[in-house]
Assembly symmetry: C2
Homo-oligomer: 281 residues x 2
Amino acid sequence: LFSSVNGRSNATIDLADRGLAFGDGVFETLLLAQGKLPFLSLHLDRLQLGLDGLHIEACRQNIQDQVNQCLAQTSKQQFLNGIVKIIVTRGQGRGYLPQAQTEATILISAYPLPELQKNYQRDGVAICICQHRLSYQPALLGIKHLNRLDNVLAALELRDKNTVEGLILDDQGFVAEAVSRNLFTVKDGQLFTPDLLRGGIKGIMQGIVVEQLAPQLDLSVNTGRLTPQQVVNADEVFLCNSITGIWPVIRIDEQELSPGPVTQSLQVAAQKLSASLLENQ
Amino acid sequence: LFSSVNGRSNATIDLADRGLAFGDGVFETLLLAQGKLPFLSLHLDRLQLGLDGLHIEACRQNIQDQVNQCLAQTSKQQFLNGIVKIIVTRGQGRGYLPQAQTEATILISAYPLPELQKNYQRDGVAICICQHRLSYQPALLGIKHLNRLDNVLAALELRDKNTVEGLILDDQGFVAEAVSRNLFTVKDGQLFTPDLLRGGIKGIMQGIVVEQLAPQLDLSVNTGRLTPQQVVNADEVFLCNSITGIWPVIRIDEQELSPGPVTQSLQVAAQKLSASLLENQ
């Protein structure tokens, strides 16, 4: 529906772009709702962390300007709800060592939400535990970079197992995240979410739950390591991201779970927050 | 000088290609010499291993046909010496889970050799030991995939240290490879090269040294783990890849080394092999 490369609409990327050659860049996938991006500044913060971590220089204002250009275009087309994706790569160049004067490539695109995720918020989802484990790489911790084969290989297992999501373990066998979402458990009225110290991406919605929604509801949140058995034994389990919100988990492999009151109250709080962000933007 | 996407010359790749979005693909970088690709079949074998490992379906004959089309074009342009790069991605698609019917994207490009690597075969190179260590991911071992941030981050150190190559250690601190090359040491007349069981890519030239050149010269080759100290204490150290051949190492960080007779005899043998491959192709 919309795409731009360094501000030029419908431009294409060079075959020598380092994003394609090496996955040498970062990205963000943002919810477009009512023509607005309610979590834009949080996404830009995480993008900046990743750019710093990879030593890629790209001007935040420049990125934001190109996002605004995208919003202007999609609004004109009456495309108000969907996804806006930002990719920033280190730019063009051959060989692993970048040229010192390489200019970053900024790609903005907008496209519709996938169709199938309609009733998962209400009905919950069945998930599996993936066999594929996260790579261990301390230098890339927390960076939403373009080296995403871990998530792709885990996602391939969902097809075989006929589930819409799956938990990915870190190299030591602790639960880190789901393929496209973060994980929370509820046990004895307390929230728990993995600390992601050996892999996985700290989610925007995960941060909102921890820092805004849980305090609002007087829920305490613990972070740390979580075994698959601890997840299966939790009172409630839910997945979340900023695109599709909070999904209750109703089955993990063979183990049935019920959606519970804590998950439900967080869903209500998340919807209220989204509504107020959209109103005030 | 030449580029094609799925057989169409000067085509561009889609912004939704999974190669860009996730590094979801594999690649090979081939020496073009006298209008020929002396190691083509070895590269296609490794490419196929990677495609199988990532569960990407792409027809080898199709890839080979597009490489041949590239060679026909570059010959017409009298571009006879340089690099031909093959990238195969899983194709287009949004989200980590690929659509079942996704068609792979095959990208072929040809471009000149970098200028600066003229006298390294003769004079040797000074290298460093990089701080950045390889990711540990058993599921991707040996696959020359597009998730190459490890090599990029290690390469960034070369700029600061002003060396043309650097050794990368695996997560356990053993020497795995160099940024764009494989490593051999010579000690007491025997060759040693890392077994790459925790990361790194088995090189085409590394394989040729082990399987063809060393036996020709009655040299035994051992593989296994190698500490940085063992490398520094070796009688001779050399790096190799199929583009730039064998480079003697003359300094590692502060430690001076001398190019030696074993490295030199392997260089002669490699040049003879290349010449005979080019003659018989």
